[in-house]
Symmetry: D2
Subunit: 353 residues, 4 copies
């Protein structure tokens, strides 16, 4: 796509599946984006109702009503915020409606249909189309995103892990030993549909290991990271609503130190607008903490070394719905249209929060 779209003209956006949390968050961000104009939001369940009834933070911000997906009309950008597995089988239907398609689900993230089959337990319904999609992670794929018209937004847990590891693996700062990533995940990551597991009395005080092994994001982490290191994911739900904190245990070669980790992050991320290295010697906020990131597009990264063992503990925090989903998507769209990369993503986060 050309990088000359910077005029005041707004591009029209249709959000398919806008009653969920990912779609709602994209809607919130797009409503505040100067170059985007949301013209359609679909929801089968809430068709006919004002979007503000489902997303009450948008009261007074929009008069849009949900329509059924069957009523979808053309738009410059189609954002698919459907449950995993729902978009892939219908992708040609959506491709007829808009030039740029952003998918927030896992349907188009993996390049290899066989890897998809293993991770998601069934054959991909449109394997031939997988090559058309760019993995929606600006820090790794900025150049491809500049001309992308198919963007498969990265998974939230995967994003926190990939962004922490990428510079170190790229620059060879880690040993080829097993890497362990433990993700503490907020309840919004499981979506907007209620269930026994999400019932407040069962969940409010819980620290629940919901995926000790076999997390599906392993596949995209392995696809995106250089080298062929074994990477193991464990996911635990916490009492927070938003946010992911990943702690990642890895190993550094003899002779390497803190300084090499610093250097790698600086070298790779120096110009990144949404990556902050948080490693502070004083005060109470010394490392990344999702508490500070609700509503923001930051990925905060930190680390600490155990020189005796060569172990390095990486820490990575994001808001799962922003940098983990909808904000990441906006950032990709900004790149794809040549807009200032931070447009619509300026919120600094709250303190206290």
């Amino acid at each position: 796509m050309a990088s000359s779209d910077q005029g005041s003209k707004q591009l029209s956006v249709a959000i398919v599946g806008g009653s969920g949390y990912a779609g709602g968050e994209f809607l919130r961000l797009a409503l505040g984006h100067p170059h985007l104009k949301v013209t359609q939001v679909t929801s089968e369940r809430s068709a006919g109702q004002p979007v503000a009834l489902v997303h009450p933070n948008l009261r007074g911000r929009t008069n849009l009503k949900f329509r059924k997906a069957a009523e979808l009309e053309e738009a410059d950008i189609i954002v698919l915020a459907l449950p995993h597995g729902s978009a892939a089988g219908r992708i040609t239907e959506f491709e007829g409606k808009g030039r740029v398609i952003v998918d927030l689900s896992a349907d188009f993230r993996l390049k290899d249909p066989e890897v998809f089959r293993q991770a998601y337990g069934e054959a991909h319904p449109a394997p031939d189309t997988l090559g058309n999609w760019v993995y929606g992670n600006p820090e790794l794929h900025r150049e491809e995103l500049r001309t992308a018209t198919r963007i498969a937004c990265a998974g939230c847990f995967a994003t926190s892990v990939i962004l922490a590891l990428y510079p170190l693996l790229k620059l060879g700062v880690l040993l080829p030993k097993d890497i362990i990533a433990t993700g503490l995940v907020g309840s919004s990551a499981a979506g907007a549909s209620s269930s026994d597991a999400s019932h407040h009395p069962e969940r409010a005080g819980s620290l629940r290991v919901y995926k000790p092994v076999g997390h599906r994001h392993t596949a995209e982490v392995q696809q995106e990271l250089p080298g062929h290191f074994p990477i193991h994911l464990t996911a635990i739900s916490t009492p927070r609503v938003r946010g992911i904190l990943s702690t990642i245990q890895a190993w550094i070669p003899d002779g390497y130190s803190d300084r090499d980790v610093w250097s790698a992050y600086r070298e790779v991320y120096a110009a990144e607008p949404f990556i902050r290295i948080v490693k502070v010697a004083r005060g109470i906020h010394r490392y990344p903490d999702p508490m500070l990131l609700d509503g923001t597009n930051y990925c905060d990264l930190g680390f600490e070394m155990d020189m005796d063992s060569g172990r390095v503990v990486l820490m990575s925090a994001i808001d799962n719905l922003v940098k983990g989903t909808a904000g990441h998507a906006i950032q990709c769209l900004n790149i794809a249209h040549g807009w200032e990369e931070t447009t619509g993503l300026e919120f600094a986060g709250l303190h206290p929060a």
Copy 2:
């Protein structure tokens, strides 16, 4: 009932509707009660499953499995923990199974069928039986409870309000002006079934006024309290799972003071094992706080006066599932069987919690 049941023999208990929170809490308390032996627990939804699957705190504490209510056999005590409106129509069915029946729902609390109709929106299915039931509040009905075989357990919000007001209304320490009770209620009060409203991301940070006017417990509060003062209830859900804190705004006659409130509470509640007056001049825990009561059968009461206006603010805290439901029921059973009134209700509560 005789007061001579104090031997080591245990009475058998059947809990009907034991997969909910009220039934589960009664089960927990009964398992630790030396004179009770739970022999049956019913659940239509979970029939055949171990009760510890639904109530995981009871792992290793019981091997009981749920059965269907249709399989209910005789027991000394039948505890009905069904949704409101479910027990009344089937009460003769249960009366054939046990001598003592305790109902934890609202079905038999109101004496006047017409009041029931207004509060619950439909005619009572067994109006002639209402006179057989004792309202299950030991502080007001201890003597009746000694011989009771039908106990209709008091409502949780109602209990917190009644216990705070009863001594003051009985002894004429309040003016006949409108009384306002605001209840802050934990999420467990809405029961064990998940819903959109109880979905963790929608509820965790919420302060939700769910019943600003028209709360059904108004009827039992008015029935139980002396005088005919207008009493108004507002209920707000909080991020806590358990607990109710009621603040009650009332008015004191000229010439009355703090001291008269103290005296009234002391006179009426001096011998009560589960009422504590909490009004402390130092420290950080000066008034009743449900934080300290999870799992206990206490009702903590406090108050403060505004001498300029004659306003008195009463504060009342309980665990809605214990003093508000199952613990209250156990206390009633202890009285009805002549057992030490605190039996099975000894837990002191945690600090910090």
Copy 3:
């Protein structure tokens, strides 16, 4: 002040007492405000340190460091974010530094020194200056604010109560009976200094009545509201960090109804950019809830009537640090400088949150 300041020139802002929550929140908002440029932030305790060390949400957003108040230099706007009682005695010192002064404390809110003495327990140190200040509530004092150079920002609990009651009292929709306001308040309202009462294990699960009677905001509520109705405030701390939910119990004359409350709100607030009436018949978010307002400048108002008793329950929710403090101040500054009133206050709030 002229309404012609709309050019791109930024006014310089000095924040005195910027390490607390009110000052930090003003800083966050001012950093995103196109017409403001924060040039100085003072803190005695943290002088010399980067502001982002104390307000970690501002990492990467500003390179400002705290200085001591003694080093304060001139600025177009001086924002005083000092503890209550600290600004009044030193006000001439600050008046020499800037043309416009905004005070976020309670020091200049009350017009009558005698009322101040009663509410705050000591004589006002500069009673002659009280007449210079405009009470910083745009909904009540917009016209005065247009030319104001001394703005005394409204108290947070007071704001939630005043905004709910003002239209109804102004238009005579309420009876002259006792009004009861119960405020559920987040922990940030007590400030940034740690204490035994704010220690997480003592506070996290607490519902703590901290001001059952005698709340100091009563004075400003009575000053600002028309009529001389008796108004009674009770304040309870909740597990939330931000936010106030006030429920207000009042009385409506015979023959009045819901519709009259609607009309009053519409008539008075129709053009208000930050007042929303929230009273929805469907869904789970039917009334105002502070959960939805973190970081926003909204005041959401709702109500429900009990036609039998003539009681109306008003509900009012704000973020205590935004509409209750720093956002309110920004809104006042926007008015005083003729800027678009919503400038810098566009954040919509999060859902889920």
Copy 4:
């Protein structure tokens, strides 16, 4: 000590340092223990005040007042609940006061003074006495505890890790590869003193990595576990008040499976009254969760295997103040006096909680 103390005679207990959370929890448990009678509780800060002022859950449960440690008189059992480093230098002072001494701090856990020096940064003040102490973990040291008069209670994070790993290391079910333990810890673990880090607004929503490397409990974990495997600890604070959830990543030899882990746990823990294996195929509570353990002495253990990689994820949950401190101590005392091991530790925990 003899195992014939089972009579009704109660042993006197003095708690030194009873205003903290460990001492307060021991007090709560001891007040409910039929063979213990707490006769003294010391606190320098609160001397002269009722213990219920500091531990408000004990209102109505005890009339004890704090005294200064200098006023300590003899007792059958002395429980030291002092800050780490405070007991070791004064141990002879306490040894003169009672026959049995239980220390809840880290002062006497390590056998090797050099290991102590490395872990705690200073020389042990009484290195010659270290051999007198039994490490207070019943599952590993029950036989020694039967005759112990000096019991050094195990650390809370250490306990959760040791109990999960001990059977597997003892029976050779793990490979000698790096073991990673990630502990999610409640705020009570940092003690009862307030600080900036524990200030509610800074802590309530936080997921804070407070010890990514270099956790002091590493020393006692390594001392207690068989073999010389490298074990790495990372500690993260969560919004909970109580509880620890440890997830432990370890490696299983080829040819081993789930079944071998089951067997090891069963073989070693079959008769343990406070160990439960939680690994359930249905429902929402499938693995250990500290939510269910508040107030209980259980250690719940679970695990899951990734057969592809040979990785096993162990999960271990406790209440840090009960099985992690005071309950563990009571269990040790029960063993040392020949009492039923579960005496005073019967609380089942709450659901919901």
